[in-house]
């Protein structure tokens, strides 16, 4: 029996392990990916102050620290079930069953598929897959591609592909269907673009982002959006063009793109075929919470946090005794926020477990303030009202506690 098992060796899981080891708890971290670091491994971008954020280096720092402190890290191990036991949890994995007195689920996020006809052809991948292939496995995803779906994540990864020398024809929206109705709506996408404009070396977008806070300006910007697109890092970004279908016999050969009206409706007769050999589809992220669900944790739907999230408080505790969550499973935010949440979760676990609790309350308060401060400084925001989502969850937890 270990004091703590942590599922997920990303920024949240590794940071939590470091905190637990500092207080001498026995810690096992498992991760289904062959390398530790989680989504940090794919990240490479320039911050507004000009500094580069190299996720591989950041992951290395956390990993070294956790290893020096003696955390047991096992990669390539998948957890498929969690059972509550009398004095903790049984974590079922493909490498056997691990007993844990306390359990932290830090499984991060998964990508939503945004299907358009032809999306099952070889050569079509999610934008995150293109990132992992390029930055982690160092494999070129293709000769010339197109990105379908314009959002914070796809814009950042498009730039990474560009830096790696992969040619991107453009970024366009997916044609609207029941699944892509939000990602295919130019108005909603403009909202998102306005939020990342501070990162873009484009005067139009920067200026636009200040103006676009007013709804009427946004609507005007959608109506007047340039036909040739707006170039972001040299890549034309189109919000008035949509990919209707992906064509090819055995693999991707081309994409049919058309113009769309401000509501996202295709304009007949404007179809054009663009030869490409790969397509990246960006459907956004949602909290990967299956393990919390099978462990019996209650959920709430909070749009600002990315969908269904396990009920938890600001100390990362769930209503299930001994079960904690941290990182993107609690809401889609940056890796820096995930790391801060991980440290906080680690300290909460220590407080629950350690015999010597001197000074812990103060440290937890500090860690909570740190999460808020990092959130306020975040340069990449996946949802503009993430704060609102976080306070909704705090109230939900209080009500849940009162009711049970």
């Amino acid at each position: 029996m270990r004091d703590v098992v942590i599922i997920g060796a990303g920024p949240a899981g590794l940071s939590a392990a470091i905190a637990c080891r500092e207080w001498d708890l026995s810690v096992l971290i498992i991760d289904e990916f062959p390398k530790p670091g989680g989504r940090l491994l794919g990240q490479l971008h320039q911050e507004p102050d000009g500094e580069w954020w190299n996720g591989i280096k950041e992951a290395g720092k956390l990993l070294n620290h956790a290893t020096e402190l003696g955390a047991d890290i096992r990669c390539g191990v998948s957890a498929h079930h969690i059972e509550k036991a009398d004095n903790g949890f049984k974590v079922h994995t493909d490498a056997g069953v691990f007993d844990a007195e306390q359990l932290l689920i830090a499984t991060g996020a998964a990508e939503s598929a945004a299907p358009i006809p032809g999306w099952t052809l070889p050569g079509v991948m999610s934008i995150g897959a293109a990132q992992v292939m390029t930055n982690v496995h160092r494999v070129r995803v293709g000769e010339r591609g197109i990105v379908v779906g314009v959002n914070v994540l796809s814009a950042a990864i498009a730039r990474e592909l560009d830096l790696a020398g992969t040619e991107l024809h453009s970024m366009v929206l997916p044609a609207k269907n029941p699944v892509t109705k939000h990602y295919g709506d130019p108005g909603e996408v403009m909202d998102g673009l306005a939020r990342i404009a501070h990162m873009a070396p484009s005067r139009i977008l920067r200026f636009g982002s200040i103006l676009a806070r007013a709804g009427w300006v946004r609507r005007l910007a959608v109506r007047l959006y340039p036909k040739r697109g707006v170039k972001v890092w040299g890549i034309p970004v189109h919000i008035r063009k949509a990919a209707l279908k992906i064509n090819g016999r055995d693999r991707v050969e081309s994409v049919t793109v058309c113009n769309i009206d401000p509501a996202g409706k295709p304009i007949e007769g404007s179809e054009r075929t663009i030869p490409v050999d790969f397509v990246c589809i960006a459907g956004g992220l949602y909290p990967l919470a299956e393990l919390a669900a099978v462990a019996g944790c209650p959920f709430r739907y909070i749009e600002e946090l990315g969908g269904h999230v396990p009920v938890h408080n600001e100390r990362m505790e769930t209503p299930i005794d001994g079960l904690y969550v941290a990182g993107n499973i609690t809401g889609i935010e940056s890796a820096k926020v995930a790391a801060a949440q991980g440290r906080l979760a680690g300290l909460s676990i220590v407080r629950h477990r350690a015999k010597d609790k001197a000074g812990l309350g103060q440290r937890i308060d500090e860690a909570m303030r740190h999460v808020t401060a990092i959130r306020e400084q975040a340069t990449i925001q996946f949802h503009p009202e993430v704060d609102k989502g976080r306070s909704k969850m705090e109230n939900i937890f209080k009500e849940y506690r009162k009711a049970t």
Binding site: E32, H81, H92, A95, A113, P115, W119, H308
Partner: protein, 87 residues
């Protein structure tokens, strides 16, 4: 257009099933097997949820729309049928 790759269920299959049986989201899933293939819905779950939300008109509630069942990852029978040896 295919929604669930593992079970090759199309958008039309899901719509037709709902209109034929006027049934719940869960029943549509059971009848079409959308989201019940090898990947356990890991690829298509949000897409299946979105399609079912539109055809049934059910707004997302607090519970996960379609129940999550273990195993949540593809595992071999020998792993599931093992003697529960502790690692």
């Amino acid at each position: 257009m295919i929604i669930c790759r593992c079970e090759e269920v199309t958008l039309e299959d899901i719509r037709d099933t709902f209109h034929t049986y006027k049934c719940s989201a869960r029943e549509v899933k059971l009848r079409t097997r959308a989201g019940m293939g090898y990947c356990g819905g890991r690829t298509c779950r949000p897409a299946v949820d979105a399609v079912l939300e539109e055809v049934t008109g059910e707004k997302p509630g607090d519970d996960l729309p379609l129940k999550v069942q273990p195993p949540v990852r593809p595992v071999s029978l020998s792993v599931l049928g093992g003697d529960g040896d502790h690692a």
